[in-house]
């Protein structure tokens, strides 16, 4: 059994944790980062491949929020967290949400101007850029369909850097913030799971960990810290706090972007190596339309969602790509750490309005893809009609039911909201957990709601803001 002492302990190394570690280490603090997952060379696996899922995803990508219907979700579990596995799309928090959240939850220093200033700083530290040159065919499909229909669409910037030949490299946390933190003296411990936090009165005094060594041996490690930042994401941050006996407004109100998909077949080949960077914003903020990873395995899985044979379509798989409609949901969920279980139980309840919105999103997605030249659409609905013409799309309205819709998400938020309204929040306006002087949360859990766009930019800006507040306060 080992003991370690640090000034600041950061638990988790994703978008929230890595930003926290870099900001505090560069401010001269002694920082230790612990990450449950392994360190994986970011160039070792092809993006969205099976090998990457095994190496970098929690549960190999097989998380599920229980409910009717259950909703599959995926999270990263490696140094760099979900930034290592996502598409890198970057979108600042919409201004109207910052204003709405500030008012509803009583969040101090949360004006759009303040958040924009922090976003500026994050963007100066990362490379946020649009694709140089023409978009790939899978992305151009979205632009073409939207333009034909007169719908708003946009090419999103991504956290990518491009070389002179236009080759992009995703600026994951393992390539950016974590090396910065390390250069400023931070220590990063991979394969180190925090079992619980040791509290004394209004302070956390230590974290009890289990560290797995390369040979497979497991070491018990106690890390003593003056300040603790929990940044394990919207599922595992509340679970860790609950395991540590901290339960007030912790794990309630989980939000996500439930997503329904279509596998679209075109009369020409589409690319499969990247995720489309165009998004259709015509129905924002309630419905977003975009493209998904479409390697052969993902195309096959999407086709199989109808429950019909896939052999004929798979013979033409190079002409097929997958697209989605994601909604801002009225429903909510819970994260519950069950004693004796390593993984928390996650639940989510969709409302009838959510289902209706998903059906609407699916139909709009179908309209868009047909307008873009798709010749066959396979919805992620068991028994869902394979559509070839516009007049067939109407059948989808009635097919998106609780028993037939196959839903997933990659955005989970809001399980420990921030703000000064103590009845509704788990932390103050800057992530400090109510009732504790030295325990802070700094990740997607803090967002009061799912933002309707990829939350990485909002997480990073808010984490930077909270670090500034900590440095001024501590």
């Amino acid at each position: 059994m080992g003991d370690l002492t640090t000034e600041v302990l950061v638990i988790g190394s994703g978008a929230g944790g890595a930003v926290t570690a870099a900001a505090l280490a560069e401010a001269g603090r002694t920082v230790t980062v612990v990450e449950e997952g392994p360190w994986v060379d970011p160039d070792e696996h092809e993006p969205f491949s099976l090998a990457e899922m095994v190496a970098k995803y929690r549960h190999r990508g097989a998380g599920a929020a229980l409910g009717n219907p259950p909703i599959a979700y995926a999270e990263g579990r490696c140094v760099g967290g979900s930034t290592e596995i996502n598409s890198g799309l970057y979108h600042r928090l919409p201004e109207h949400l910052a204003q709405e959240w500030r008012t509803t939850y009583g969040i101090d220093e949360f004006s759009p101007e303040v958040l924009d200033a922090y976003a500026d700083r994050v963007e100066s530290q990362l490379s946020v850029a649009r694709l140089p040159g023409a978009p790939p065919p899978s992305s151009a499909v979205l632009e073409r369909g939207a333009t034909k229909l007169g719908w708003r669409n946009v090419e999103f910037a991504r956290v990518f850097s491009y070389d002179e030949a236009g080759r992009g490299t995703k600026q994951t946390m393992s390539r950016t913030m974590l090396p910065r933190a390390r250069a400023a003296g931070a220590t990063i411990l991979p394969d180190c799971r925090v079992v619980d936090l040791v509290t004394r009165g209004d302070r956390v005094v230590a974290a009890r960990c289990r560290r797995t060594h390369p040979g497979g041996g497991v070491e018990r490690l106690t890390i003593h810290a003056d300040h603790v930042f929990v940044c394990c994401g919207a599922v595992h941050t509340p679970a860790l706090l609950q395991r540590s006996g901290i339960r007030r407004n912790v794990g309630n109100g989980l939000k996500m972007h439930p997503t329904i998909k279509v596998a679209a077949r075109f009369p020409h080949p589409v690319d499969h190596g990247d995720v489309p960077m165009h998004r259709v914003t015509e129905f924002s903020p309630f419905i977003a339309i975009g493209g998904s990873a479409s390697r052969r395995g993902q195309v096959a899985m999407a086709l199989a969602d109808t429950g019909q044979p896939i052999d004929e379509a798979m013979a033409d798989w190079e002409n097929i790509s997958t697209y989605y409609a994601a909604i801002r949901s009225e429903g909510s969920g819970r994260v519950v750490a069950v004693p004796g279980l390593r993984s928390p139980v996650v639940t989510y309840s969709l409302t009838e309005a959510d289902l209706s919105r998903l059906a609407r999103g699916l139909v709009h997605l179908g309209e868009l893809l047909l307008a873009a030249g798709a010749i066959e659409l396979h919805p992620s609905v068991t028994g869902g009609r394979v559509v070839r013409r516009l007049d067939e799309l109407g059948t989808w309205w009635d097919q998106v039911t609780r028993s037939r819709a196959n839903l997933m998400t990659v955005h989970l938020t809001s399980s420990l909201r921030m703000g000064e309204d103590r009845r509704r929040t788990g932390t103050d306006s800057f992530g400090r957990v109510w009732g504790f002087r030295n325990l802070r949360v700094n990740d997607a859990s803090l967002l009061p709601d799912a933002p309707g766009v990829n939350p990485q930019a909002a997480i990073m800006a808010i984490a930077t803001r909270n670090c500034d507040h900590f440095l001024a306060d501590a």
Binding site: L50, R296, T382
Partner: protein
């Protein structure tokens, strides 16, 4: 992996390439081990129940023994079952198998 799960994986895998079949089975086995305990427990319980049901049907001569195509048809029926967990069971197993098999086929080598 339980006996019925192995049978389901075998029935859902379409390639005749034995090395890919073995790799798919190994991937599904690893995935099930890696799942959250409560999900794994639920799937294991369903495997026992559905496997027993299939065994009884075979004993009565209503489901051909050693016939992957017959089991695949049964799985197709379960995928449309009115019982949610039964539908989820089939969808989960199908997703694992199909994703793994086609990713491996794309690579052309295992």
């Amino acid at each position: 992996m339980l006996w019925f799960e192995r049978e389901v994986v075998g029935a859902l895998t379409t390639t005749t390439d034995q090395s890919i079949r073995s790799s798919v089975e190994a991937f599904v086995d690893g995935s099930l081990r890696d799942w959250p305990e409560h999900l794994r427990l639920g799937v294991a319980a369903e495997s026992v129940l559905l496997g027993t049901w299939a065994a009884v049907r075979r004993a009565l001569g209503r489901l051909p023994a050693g016939d992957p195509a017959a089991l695949r048809q049964q799985l197709d029926r379960w995928e449309h079952s009115p019982i949610g967990p039964v539908r989820s069971y089939v969808r989960a197993m199908k997703s694992l198998v199909i994703m793994a098999e086609h990713d491996m086929l794309a690579k052309g080598a295992v």
